[in-house]
Point group: C2
Amino acid sequence: MSLGRILLGRRLRTSESDDQLIGPWIGVPVLGLDALASAAYGPEAMLTVMMPLGAGAVHYGVPLALSIAAVLTVVFLSYRQTIAAYPNGGGAYSVAKENLGERAALFAAAALAVDYVLNVAVAIAAGVGALVSIFPALLPHTLSVCLVLLGLLTLLNLRGVRAAGLVFATPTWLFVVCLLGVLTCGVVKLVLSDGQPAPVVALPPLSAAVQLATPWLLLHAFASGCTAMTGVEAVSNAVPIFRPDTVKNARRTLTMIVVILLCLLLLEATLARAYHIGATTPGEPGFQSLLSQLVAAVVGRGFLYNLTLGSVVAVLCMSANTSFADFPRICRILAQDKWLPETFVHRGRRLAFSHGILVLSALSGILLIVFGGITDALIPLFAIGAFLAFTMSQAGMVVHGWRRRHERRARQRMALNVLGAVATGATTLVILVAKLHEGAWVSLLIIALMLLGFVGTRRHYSFVARVTSTSASLELGPARPPLAVVPLRRWDAVALKAIRLALQLAPDVICVQVLTGDRSVDDLRPRWDLLVTRPAKQGKFKPPELVVLSSEYRSLFKPLLDYIDELARTHPDRQVAVIVPDLVERRWYHAFLHNHSAALIKALLLARGGPQTVVVSAPWYLRDWLPEQQHLARPAE
Amino acid sequence: MSLGRILLGRRLRTSESDDQLIGPWIGVPVLGLDALASAAYGPEAMLTVMMPLGAGAVHYGVPLALSIAAVLTVVFLSYRQTIAAYPNGGGAYSVAKENLGERAALFAAAALAVDYVLNVAVAIAAGVGALVSIFPALLPHTLSVCLVLLGLLTLLNLRGVRAAGLVFATPTWLFVVCLLGVLTCGVVKLVLSDGQPAPVVALPPLSAAVQLATPWLLLHAFASGCTAMTGVEAVSNAVPIFRPDTVKNARRTLTMIVVILLCLLLLEATLARAYHIGATTPGEPGFQSLLSQLVAAVVGRGFLYNLTLGSVVAVLCMSANTSFADFPRICRILAQDKWLPETFVHRGRRLAFSHGILVLSALSGILLIVFGGITDALIPLFAIGAFLAFTMSQAGMVVHGWRRRHERRARQRMALNVLGAVATGATTLVILVAKLHEGAWVSLLIIALMLLGFVGTRRHYSFVARVTSTSASLELGPARPPLAVVPLRRWDAVALKAIRLALQLAPDVICVQVLTGDRSVDDLRPRWDLLVTRPAKQGKFKPPELVVLSSEYRSLFKPLLDYIDELARTHPDRQVAVIVPDLVERRWYHAFLHNHSAALIKALLLARGGPQTVVVSAPWYLRDWLPEQQHLARPAE
């Protein structure tokens, strides 16, 4: 059984595609982990920005959470329409392409692609960070753990969407049930205690205020909290992974994800206010994540606490998976439109878009390595891409709606889309302004470079297509037969085979021997008549000519290449077929023992040759001479 | 001007070999640096072993130095004979091969090769260590400095032996003049002061004795001091680099090296005793090298001190060069005898044995990186190889003398060789016993593995030679013409060229199209008659057949390879020439934009094919379509 088989499972036939389709219960783990994991870090990021307000922060948490929930709801309703309107997936790219033009579509695709790469690095680093805070012994190995996790995610996704979803389903739903259960329990306690619940475990006190609330600080907090919304676009990008009725299943999945996310956000905000919980400073002693404080306050630090927080860590670790589901599909759609190399269109052995998965894995692996597995520096770059794509998508849907304004209920839909475009556009602006100096400009720069890359790629493809494409039928002029050239080093069975082949392929054969002054190589001229000329004449072939070149700089290749160039010049109406004797080794490590003249000659001929040159490998197989066969006759050639 | 030209200088003709030959004044820097640098660390190593004796050590320094000098003299006289007897170089290998048999010779060669690799790593680390103690700011960059130095040495040696020697000549002779001058000055002071000289600068006091001298300790000190002798074999390995009269020049070089080394060793020992100088603990505060103490005692810490110690550091840094001169020559001699790949025989653009230089550089670079530029752990491994080779060489010379025992003065020579064999054999044993537990067994293990490698390599070469070599003349049976197979993806100019070529090379052409379910590729069957069959008939060619294969696992290659296998099976008497349409890119970075099907097909065909398969590249050059030419007619093909 091959290694590929063990790691990736058996190859799937193209006709087995339908078996890989999924429904909502697997759809939520595959496409919703990014959004759901946001519930763990979005509200926390918001409260962290408000830390200078001290205890005063508690008054602003709920209103901010409500405004985020409002934007989220608008975006959700809009994406529900997008799914129905663009059932082939591609989300923002498809919407923008049809309604706003190619450039806008490319911009949206580049923004999403950057966001997905960042998401993988940030999500894995966050998951491993949470893991390390539970098992401090792992701390020196942070980067290794990150890379192992990245490798596992890559492998799972190469096994196909369905395989990944099945693995992630249990922890995802455990997370949803536990966290929703604990938070609901907290609300029950809140109601029973007339709004003054006593925490089961003492909470870290809120620090004293060092600043009053300013509109700018609140906007910044809102922008940070909006990271909770990334991942909502995931379903619209990957609609075709659902089984029929595809649109219905995709919409149902999106609804499940957003409803759960809304519940979690609002419950967290409410309870944080009721228990007077704020953020603590990460990296300092006494740091406790918001969820840890909330869960401990509601149910104490028992089994339920461990189970819930464990599932949170598991979801954080796996939340990079959404990118693995979406990024390859965006690459595929771009490749179908020739903005990216064709290879992203092809499906691998398990029907996943393997090249996109591997590229995503490589790029985010590089980010993890460069930042040593601690990606705090990347967080400001994050979410810009997603919100740019949201805005493009909403704006596109407005145009989409305008074009269909005479359909039934078109007005309501359009009103929603306009609201969505304004809301996401405004949010994008807030995020941009709040985070530009923290490094968000890097995201914009990368997006711009990607656009250049897309355009350059397509220009190259269309150039190649223009010069190679032809609908002409085969033209066969009165071409003269090719000239064959056989480079020889010494007289052996490999050379013999090449000469025999040359005589079969072309009427005129020239053998070229380059002498470099190495005494172990004999000049073939004295024996040529006996070895070649006479047998050729007997066999009714035109005898091959021998040309001996001496190389004063000891290079085997230059004199040969110069000779072939000259030959092509003096015979402009003939192809020059260079027949390279090629000893093929028995074992891979034998490659170290030979000097690869054949491979080098072939590469140089292809690189330097002109349209007249043709390179022919005449392989001679050493493996046909296994030790146990040495007593046998030589194999037929 | 190309990068190679700038870094390495112009290519040299083989006929310019003589200009690269050197005389003794360059010979000492090229081949003597290893031996001369030993004067800096050999006596120090000896005194370090004797540190537990405290002030008592001063009594043993001179007798031990005298015994080392005696062994050195014997080895020197013996190698003088070796140079005359084996003017083609190869030192211990050549002597052992002729007199003790192949296995002994290989053993000696492996021992020397290991020693040379270790020498490069240890010498560079020692030189950089000395440099860092002068410029402590370099300390965090120790490894980088080591690697830069290694790179410089590699580059210099790739430029040719003579170029390297010219660069090293000035510091080498400066070192010799300064150090000999200062030490002689010290002896004069010693005589003038009636054996009680007063040091110019106060010296660190010798510590109290913690142990009495035991024979074992003295043997260990002797063994450590013997590291001063490594490098004496260098000249005998590289005799052919001298200009005529070659033997005389080589012997003169060896004599100069050994006389200088003997003077330095004995002067150091004498002065160390007179000034009561002992070793200090390396790495502890107050550490001062033996030479630094000696020079400061004689001339104080003025300009002369700085100049002398500076030249010592320079020589330490450059002393790895001896290995660069010798290792490639040992590899070459082994390669000539087929124990190593043939590539080590060839000379590079500057007539140096470039492959040997690069392999040495790579191996010692790996050692430096693995040990972080601090190679103390390697020092016990060092010198074993050299002494094993010394012993083999001396023993070989005994047999050599015995065979010539009837010549004039043969008795005296043989007596010297027997003495040499006994002395070096005994010294080797002492070193082995003294250092075995410190890691010298690693050297032995590596030598054993190298022996296995040599034997395996030669076995492979002789197998290849046996199955490929033939003195038979060309046999041309009544072979049937080849079958041509053209793999097609789509109908374009690249494919058209391949089909035209196929029709010229073979009477029967089969075009194979593999459909993977990709909708952008059209099935060619409906248009085949129009595109190919009719024009072929008009051109009086047999029309190519079209075979369309569908690939249920989406692989382009497997169905094609299976089809070709099947074709070869059903036509056992014909060659199958696979003509691969190959789009050659204009720019290297375009390679990222195409999926290399052609390169993959060719590689798979060579790897999987049988003796019937022939692989033909039909290149189609995109670079002939530069933008400014697009309005022109298509180039003739």
